[in-house]
């Protein structure tokens, strides 16, 4: 029911950054969850989440279906507010932080051309020819420059997700939240998209939070893997492996094993 969602204007105002910049050993902080709880009715989905993420980190979030991963991301993106606890977003140079969200589905506007869809990511940031130019640039980076003026309906699933990725990145977000964006893709397209995502992340240096069901994907991409279980963080594992990473290498496989043990052990 779009009617209700329309009236509910984004109500969760991000907490102002602390006066003293929060410098941790790793660098500036991108965001921090402190004792965050989320209940729907009397069902507790998140039960005290503490998560401090420095700027530029690539975090993967893993957990069984229904454990609250999407809920966590929605809190981060301001689509929902915590029942209790606090979420602090780090200060950007201009004084406010920008979080972008990439959904499991592409969610492209069918009535807007590919480039117009990417320009949606510049709402309030740029318009006119400047917006178009920036949208075309980023489309080039995801390899779709030549499809700019087509309708989304003629693209393949992987291409649509690439447009969605371009839309999420065109505004140079501080934080990119990705909710299983590759879940619906076939295995080959998936690996291609993972590499594309990693390349762009290295180039743009945003903070990435990737929710995924795929443990191999998590260890291949992330600096840090967080496993959620029973509403809490059950495992918080660093993956200090050099990039470019070789899929299936022993170091990655060992960490994959630990995560799977945590999930099913």
């Amino acid at each position: 029911m779009p009617a209700a969602s329309l009236t509910a204007v984004r109500s969760f105002v991000t907490t102002p950054a602390p006066a003293r910049p929060a410098i941790s050993v790793e660098g500036r902080r991108a965001f921090a969850f402190k004792g965050v709880e989320k209940r729907f009715g009397d069902k507790t989905v998140l039960d005290g989440i503490d998560l401090d993420v420095p700027v530029g980190q690539f975090v993967a979030v893993i957990g069984k279906s229904g454990c609250g991963k999407s809920t966590l991301l929605r809190l981060l993106a301001g689509l929902d507010r915590p029942t209790s606890g606090s979420l602090t977003l780090g200060a950007e140079e201009e004084g406010h932080s920008r979080t972008r969200f990439m959904f499991q589905e592409p969610r492209l506007l069918p009535w807007a051309s590919v480039v117009k869809n990417v320009e949606v990511g510049l709402t309030g940031l740029a318009s006119g020819t400047q917006a178009r130019q920036r949208a075309l640039d980023i489309l080039g980076k995801v390899g779709l420059a030549d499809r700019a003026d087509e309708w989304p309906s003629v693209l393949s699933g992987g291409q649509k997700q690439r447009v969605a990725l371009a839309r999420a990145l065109v505004g140079h977000p501080q934080v990119l939240a990705l909710d299983e964006p590759l879940g619906a893709l076939d295995a080959l397209t998936r690996i291609e998209m993972q590499q594309l995502l990693e390349r762009i992340w290295i180039a743009q240096k945003f903070t990435a939070v990737l929710v995924t069901h795929d443990v191999a994907e998590a260890v291949a991409l992330a600096d840090r893997v967080v496993v959620i279980s029973d509403g809490r963080i059950a495992l918080d594992l660093d993956v200090p492996v050099e990039r470019p990473r070789r899929r299936g290498s022993a170091e990655l496989a060992r960490r994959e094993g630990r995560i799977l043990d945590q999930l099913f052990g």
Partner: protein, 258 residues
């Protein structure tokens, strides 16, 4: 699309009417079809020519078209506005939708006696009936269109910082447009239908009046001519709506290979 395929596609629709006309003419000439039951197409063509020369036909078409459009503009814009309001605001919907659904169950043509009592055979009577007839298809389909907009897209728009205005013009309205066009085409049909009935019953000008006059003087060729012209005007309105639809729904898969 090449010219010849265009011709084939659209031309084939005209084949049957032309055959029917030819058969009708032959039947009339052979005396199978008495002229006081159905005049030959050539007689209708003659009537057309006669009334065109006298200026009567053009004047009556003008009067009827003006009535149709005025009624459509009034009923259509109220229906559209209420459809938008009720689609976007739960309060507005809660307040008015039940009442509107109740009124919708009254066939608007059943109001003719009442309308004649209120307005006599003045222009207001026709305007009121056409507006009322057009109102509901536009209202219902606009509301339906807005309610069927993908909430995931609305959420996406909000995440990307669209304000309410941008959300409306870039997400909600385009998403509702296919349904709104269904309402538009349906309303155009109702518009002509209502007008014919209203003009036949109470009018002193217009196509319906022309047909009724002709009936009194047993000018059956003019009666048939009026009916044909109504059909043509209806078809014309529908074609215009389809053209508009085609132009504004180019993104829709249903219009992409046409």
């Amino acid at each position: 699309m090449s010219f010849s395929t265009h011709l084939r596609r659209n031309g084939i629709g005209w084949l049957l009417p032309v055959l029917v006309l030819a058969g009708w003419e032959v039947a009339s000439r052979a005396g199978v079809m008495p002229a006081n039951v159905l005049p030959a197409p050539s007689a209708v063509a003659e009537a057309f020519w006669r009334l065109t020369l006298s200026g009567e036909l053009i004047r009556n078409i003008g009067v009827s078209t003006a009535r149709a459009l005025a009624g459509f503009a009034v009923g259509g814009s109220i229906g559209f506005a209420l459809g938008l309001a009720n689609g976007l605001s739960t309060l507005s919907r809660g307040l008015t939708d039940t009442t509107l659904q109740m009124i919708r169950n009254i066939p608007h043509l059943a109001l003719i006696p009442l309308v004649i009592l209120w307005f006599g055979i003045d222009e207001e009577a026709k305007l009121f009936l056409v507006a009322l007839g057009v109102f509901f298809p536009i209202y219902v389909n606009t509301l339906l269109g807005i309610q069927s907009v993908d909430p995931q897209l609305v959420e996406m728009g909000r995440v990307y910082g669209m304000d309410r205005r941008a959300l409306f013009f870039r997400v909600i309205l385009p998403g509702a447009l296919p349904a709104i066009f269904v309402g538009l085409r349906y309303a155009l049909g109702i518009m002509w239908l209502t007008l014919i009935v209203a003009e036949t019953i109470s009018a002193s000008s217009g196509l319906g009046y022309m047909a009724m006059q002709a009936r009194e003087f047993l000018l059956i060729d003019v009666v048939v001519l009026s009916i044909l012209i109504y059909a043509l005007l209806g078809k014309l309105a529908d074609s215009l709506a389809r053209l508009l639809e085609r132009l504004s729904l180019g993104w829709h898969p249903a219009f992409q290979n046409g």
